[in-house]
Symmetry: D2
Subunit: 413 residues, 4 copies
């Protein structure tokens, strides 16, 4: 095997020279006219067949620099980019050059586009990089967002957005000043099954919402992992996984909580939880009387579930929040019988969907659906939960301004 | 059809004279020698066949007076008695004599054994009545327990035990002084699937328990129903259905909470919730770090679920708490794969199981598994939840003494 | 196939003139006026509450003699009788008097009503016995039906009806001549979930029926069991458990097969299958193009399932055929999504339902839903399956006359 | 049946000598040293984390020409190629150049690599094309395999392999003579859940296999579709979808049938089924006593299911055969309770897996797991089914030689 053999010349030209020409001008991405159609084959009682929506030609896709080559980038976002229709990986930023080169070879990224963190600002000179994806420890989100914005790059930042409300605000300000987009990677808000459920809620299929009961837990190992260091992670189970419950309660209901009750626990002597909380329980009261009761633990077996109760029906995700294999059940009375229905929505790669939304918003200069304000509001709620847990009292919250942009486009296919 | 025709003479003798003779003496009920056995028919890889355990001869069964002919008595306990092996219905107490007579005819109870509430104390003169089942509005539990004890009868009282800690204590005292048993009808503690799960917890199949997340809700109708009147019901969703979550968290873990956080809500203007709470959320902290997060609502669609997370696995009941159709799933990693297993425990009538336990304890003069102390402890917790909801602060709880008697006998079959 | 052929004359007579001779005096059983009603408690979006339908007063119930005290009688039918509203056990017939006495004591049956087989004809002198339930080895069905009819008793006979078409015909004739009812215990035809599915089929909820694919298997043990003796059982897996698949294909579709293909297999050297077949596969062609493909084995782990495919949807029972715990799922496209719905029909004791139907037909002198003609038709199909398996050729079948009486009454409750 | 017959000589040659001639130079693909590793993060009771296995650098991947741009190529194989680690799309062959160009732009394929069918032989001059994927109507498989082999290309051909045994043999011969690999696209044999089940069968987790009961159906629409034309499709439901049942029965059991019973049906007057069968049912007898009962229809709602019964347990796929969303349940008795376990195997793109296997076999000059002989054997069985359906008699089958190559490598990750 000849590992030194250069990539095909014409391909290089493709992803190099030509792509650069397409960078600045806005365009709408692949249009309906690019779609391949097939005549119907099944009876109309069958599920409508879907043809894959058209992908953008390679040279029109938004170039992304992946910053941080941890699990989420290597195991999720990079494979997902292969399924994207509007984005492509064009650069890597990592402190481990050997790892960076391995991955660059696999994904056809030139070695010259593998940067060290200290060279991060050189992105400014790489016109084929239009956006960055930050898959970094939480405490680095602020710095790498601000520097990206200064380098003229749009930012897709993993959640939690940062380690404090103050940091969130600096990130929003930096991107606003630079005129760059800031999107927080709330993948569930782009996931078709969650979106189908949100749609059913809006159509009052469950009646008035009353309760959200959810758990999101996993059992951590190595006490030295950065997620168990307060300075790096900002907290324990709550910001990492409990956050999903908060965000789901908000986006499924479309409401914002006005009062918060929190509780935290760490088992004395458990080396994993010297700095951050082992588990957190919280109650979120919303103005309409909708109330969320959630629990998250870093010491319980992987367990991801929610039940959403309305006056006239309930919905359940089991598992909820997972990268794949979500299952949505809705139960109501029909014809005098309780009927629990599995709503079969075709699974899509959630990372690809959020990345494509980010890329489309860049292509079309549209507002992102989950901007920094969305991450900031979750951070405000988490700070209130911690305060309540500390004071053993309920804590009130004022309403935020608008936290979300328009719904993602429903692409044909 | 001749509705006036008397029951068969010999049958009357059976349930009348003879039964009376057997009343006072203790006996062990049907024994193993009464069991009918069959030679095995299936390969040993099949589920072991179970032969129905032997029932007591009719004249040896414990005679029960059913007090209050509401839903739970008519639709659940009376049909369940037909499946009991140790108990039989011998008297009815009701304010609606016409209803009482209808039911008496169906269940072969003599008209002379249909009493009005005002004649309740006449039970003292009915030796074939050994125990009473109280299926009454909550505020009547105290009075009818005390009067039963004075009449020399054992008491099986529906939950919630009463409307206050003070009432619970009076009930316990009255029965203790009279030397009569007091059992609270916590049917889940006699239900095989819950018991199988409790057994798995004891055997550490899930590892150390960490979280219990549960909801128990239903959507009430008529604002005039007694369950929506504070003086009668003592509260709203919490004592009626939220109680299941409290009790399950306690008996599954075998622990008692030492701190409680509560929240209540009633939608302004909803006629159903002028007197009692619409919904209640609560967090129960247990000394080991096991924490329960629960929600109950009287305005949400029927929804009954719990997830019990241990360090090494989780269990789920979906539905939980229901009269029938419970489903238990346990998920752990086996051979490197997450394996979610439905544990198929043969369903039994829960009302029959609890009644048979009560009857066996009378027959054998044994301690009941869920005595008044068990109901009292739940009442203490509910009062703490209400106090926390009112003060918006966490409330501490001291540990109770022993609240449960020995485990129910595992009867062959 | 001649679809114009009139129903069999003798069947008409059976359900008409002769049945009218039935004694004792007709009566309607418990009526609606006996029903206990409760005011509604839940919101109307909840599943309508059901009050238990009224049971007959004890002295009006139909007295049943249970013939044969094997598993099905002791473990299923006797406990089920405690849940019946129209029937009661009043006599036992057994070759094992000690066992008979044990059971008599448990079920409050006088010792004088425990008969030996040789005393079976004494039933004629027991007026409180109106019907017999035959839970006997298959080869005894003929004799004990004929003797019951001669003794003036109605007959509820377990399936398979007998060991040959000829025997079935003798049973029908004997009952017709005696003016007694003959019902075959096809419990699935009285079971609410199967009936709900049959109703959906009639309403074309699945579109035109196309395929029925089913398996019903269990792993037998003791080679000496009567079910593995040809002279006693008439065959192996096919008549005992494969029969369920045949009957379900027929009653769910409402059609009769006109061509049959069969296959049988016994593992050489397996002591269990020296006399009867280990497994049987068969294809039933129905005139409309609906086709059933079924497999049954006496050497496979307990496995009970069917899938019923229509042009526009499918239904599944998983498990199917079981005594309890049935689950019905229906899948169709709704709003462009495949939706698989669990239809939650409240479980009822199937043995109680079929027995109550038998008792009501006696009380009201109505035609039974599953008379001898229903059992005869399954026997004809089984003989054709065996013939096909022997000849390795497809076998044609002529249509039967009408094989079923009217649908069982839908009792309130 | 002659079980002693040696494997076919020419097959041995095929996998041995001739394959070694394969060009270009052999290489091992990405190796373990290219793998990116992460330190463990979870407790060891959690499911082991998997890092994505390393992909080959782009220039080392096997170049594939996609022949035919129908549904399966456009909606499945092309998106799957983006997830491949060893293959890449480098050319398209289509009769619709406009469509070809659209797709070429999306997948970064040069316009010059979009060929018309008449230019197909020009592949011989395209060295970066190492293999072809034939997603063509069935009747074209023979011609395009033969021409590919002549052009020096390896062939991955969709199933059914061809329209007759004779055609299958010509395809095998042509590839053998040319020293090119021929693989049939039996994706289920590369799918992890099916493979996990096959592994359990080999380990006797279900005991001796006894029954396979399966259905695979869908409701066709347009009567003009090529799948409904005999000359193009070779048959109707059987070769298109019934084939899955045949193949699964074979590869899960590892046995070959020795007798076949078949039945076909087409509804008179249904325009869709003038040329090909609407539905087909078949029974496959295997020497051990394992027996498959299957049904397939082109006029029933999409329905895909199998149940595999062993002596000591059963397995179920529901759905089975689907492109995604498979679910595997295994039921056995554990601790005296029937336990039905969902085996959660991480879903992988089946098209990517089979394509990567094909590519790896080319890279390493290894024998493919599902060569032409595997497709030929299914074709022999289908012809026997049709013969049986025509003659209404069982048809015997002689055993094939070896039909499969070694198991696909279990790649780390």
């Amino acid at each position: 095997m000849n590992r030194d053999q250069p990539p095909r010349r014409d391909f290089l030209r493709y992803v190099g020279t030509l792509a650069a020409l397409s960078t600045p001008a806005l365009h709408a991405g692949a249009s309906e006219k690019d779609k391949v159609e097939f005549p119907p084959i099944y009876d109309k009682s069958e599920k409508p067949e879907k043809t894959e929506p058209p992908a953008d030609p390679w040279n029109e896709r938004v170039g992304i620099a992946l910053v941080g080559l941890g699990r989420i980038t290597v195991n999720e976002m990079l494979p997902a980019l292969a399924q994207c229709r509007h984005a492509k990986p064009v650069a890597l930023v990592t402190g481990d050059r050997a790892k960076g080169l391995k991955i660059a070879h696999q994904y056809n990224i030139p070695e010259s586009a593998v940067l060290d963190y200290k060279d991060y600002d050189r992105l400014a000179q790489m016109p084929d990089v239009q956006g960055v994806y930050l898959g970094l420890p939480n405490h680095m989100h602020l710095e790498y967002t601000v520097r990206a914005a200064r380098a003229g790059k749009h930012v897709l930042c993993e959640k939690p957005m940062a380690n404090s409300v103050a940091e969130c605000r600096q990130m929003i300000d930096a991107c606003r000043k630079a005129g760059r987009k800031l999107m927080i990677a709330y993948r569930s808000q782009y996931e078709p099954m969650d979106r189908a459920l949100a749609g059913m809620v809006r159509e009052k299929k469950l009646g008035a919402l009353k309760e959200f009961v959810s758990v999101n837990s996993q059992n951590m190992g190595d006490p030295q992992h950065w997620r168990l260091k307060r300075a790096l992670a900002g907290g324990g189970a709550l910001p990492d996984i409990g956050l999903y419950c908060i965000n789901a309660a908000r986006f499924l209901s479309g409401e914002e909580p006005n009062e918060v009750i929190g509780n935290i626990w760490s088992t004395p002597g458990d080396a994993r939880f010297r700095e951050v909380e082992e588990s957190c329980q919280f109650i979120l009261r919303f103005p309409s009387g909708f109330i969320a009761s959630c629990s998250t633990s870093y010491a319980a077996h992987k367990s991801q579930h929610f039940r959403l109760n309305g006056a006239q029906g309930w919905a359940e995700m089991n598992p909820a929040y997972a990268y794949r294999g979500l299952k949505l059940t809705v139960s109501r009375v029909v014809d005098g019988k309780e009927q629990a229905t599995d709503i079969q929505v075709e699974e899509k790669n959630q990372f690809a969907l959020e990345m494509d939304h980010f890329a489309q918003c860049i292509q079309q200069d549209r507002e992102v659906h989950t901007p920094g304000e969305e991450g900031l509001q979750d951070q405000r709620i988490m700070e209130a939960i911690y305060e309540s847990a500390r004071t053993r009292r309920a804590v009130k919250l004022t309403p935020p301004g608008r936290t979300r942009g328009p719904e993602p486009q429903q692409e044909a296919g």
